[in-house]
């Protein structure tokens, strides 16, 4: 978590105005800001949606102007609209924990707190997607291979050895369940254009290479 979270976090105090919080969001292009007490302890989180939702009802009153909205935002403290029950991550949580938390609690961001409850970072859906892009090897110059293997120990090592025998680096590996029972699908990204001989060697070793056109069938 410590590696993937953003450490230069923007925070506000509970008494800061909505106007101030909104300005900070725009300045740092973030959509939510942890709210911290004077000693840095997390007391809530405020998002641009919370602010919009707070201003919106006042906007429905006849005669409400942009100046009135600004005055309203300047005179309303963050603590009036912030979410107090914040789902947080800890420094000992893993990236996997963060993914599950973001998904299960339908959050966009998780403040990361230390043992004393102080905010030390924040991790967002964007950070998690970035980790996935890295893990999938997207953007690295490479070819992709999809191999169906029997679900038994040692097959991945066998495949890696075949690829290694061509002096080609594997830049990413993914292993998932396959639709067929008793089988797994292994995805490799390998740093070569010359994928033909590797495919052939893998097939000769008795594995099945998935036909990429099959992936696009509904």
């Amino acid at each position: 978590m410590a590696r993937r979270m953003k450490k230069n976090i923007v925070t506000v105090t509970p008494s800061a105005s909505l106007f101030e919080a909104h300005a900070r969001m725009r300045e740092h292009t973030v959509r939510q800001i942890p709210v911290v007490s004077g000693d840095g302890v997390l007391v809530g989180i405020v998002s641009d949606r919370d602010i919009r939702a707070a201003v919106l009802p006042a906007g429905l009153v006849p005669g409400f102007t942009a100046e009135a909205a600004e005055k309203f935002m300047k005179s309303t403290p963050v603590e009036r609209v912030m979410t107090r029950k914040v789902v947080t991550a800890t420094l000992t949580d893993t990236l996997e924990d963060a993914i599950v938390l973001l998904h299960d609690f339908r959050m966009n961001a998780l403040p990361v707190v230390d043992a004393a409850g102080k905010v030390v970072g924040i991790i967002t859906r964007t950070d998690v997607l970035e980790a996935f892009i890295d893990a999938l090897g997207v953007g690295e110059v490479s070819s992709r291979l999809e191999v169906v293997v029997p679900d038994r120990p040692g097959t991945l090592a066998q495949l890696a050895a075949i690829i290694g025998s061509f002096h080609v680096n594997i830049t990413s590996v993914l292993s998932t369940r396959h639709v067929e029972a008793g089988k797994r699908a292994n995805f490799f990204r390998v740093a070569t254009l010359n994928i033909g001989p590797i495919r052939k060697a893998i097939e000769e070793a008795g594995f099945k290479i998935l036909d990429p056109s099959q992936f696009l069938l509904p």
């Binding site: 090897g137 997207v138 953007g139 690295e140 110059v141 490479s142 070819s143 992709r144 061509f166 002096h167 080609v168 680096n169 990204r189 740093a191 070569t192 254009l193 010359n194 994928i195 033909g196 001989p197 036909d211 990429p212 056109s213 992936f215 696009l216």
Partner: protein, 316 residues
Amino acid sequence: MKRVAWIYHPDYLLHTPPFEHPESPERLVAINDHLGKAGLIERMVPVTPEYPEDADILSVHDREYLNRLETACRRGDLTLDSEDTYINRHSYNIALLSAGGAIAGAKAVAEGTVDRAFCAVRPPGHHAGRSVGMGFCLLNNAAIAARYLQARHGVGKVLIVDWDVHHGNGTQNIFLEDPTVFYFSIHEHPTFLYPGTGRRWEIGKGKGEGTTLNTPMAPGAGDAEYRTTFEQTLEPAVERFRPEVILVSAGFDAHRDDPLADLQVTDEGFRFMTRHVVGLADRFCGGKIVSILEGGYETSSLTSCIEIHVRELLDE
């Protein structure tokens, strides 16, 4: 019949792989034999490529990269930058001569000694970046030809049509921020095929935003999808851009028989693409086309498609 330059040099066969490799001299031997037997070479205008001037190469590549390539060849290295891109002691010179072939084609077309040119060159070029060789490519022949036309013949806007099945990441990067060179690529989708770039939202950057156009094809796509893309995506873009010369990065590895990809383009697909680009060139740039060989690794489809390609260029 149109006058078509035939650019070829026997020294292109000197760049030989130190191990079994699909990008081999036999590709050119087969093309030469096939076109000869078909009686097509005698109907083209033979042009012998020369070694290019430094400035023409340096308009695309860094001096430091050229030095590195030259040293690696002299030292006897087997590969450069990645394991799939082999070199031998001739490769530096032959890469220069390959770029020289693209320049010779561009020169003949620009000076009007021919209407069109087909450059049977190797090593190929479209993966080569400013300072990196990869994907069997050492120098970016098409990019060098585009810069040559601009620098030596007062050409303003150049269109590069890259129908090699792989995305030409090198060419795209070289012209990413350049509004004067339009890079169009049709290729197998990067999720499935090397090099993993060329997604539809890669459209150029800064001043070059809008003069890069990528049309990834799903595995299994063939002539029909290619036709639609050329007619509905490439053509309107060319109408807006109005190029003065069209360069083709002519790879033939999207063919259904090619072992390196998963597309289903047939001989007729390549006939259509050539004819379509000829039509665009006739409409917008006085017919000027310089076609530069890139990939294509299955001998029978490679030679038959190039025969069709040349016949269409000859407009016989």
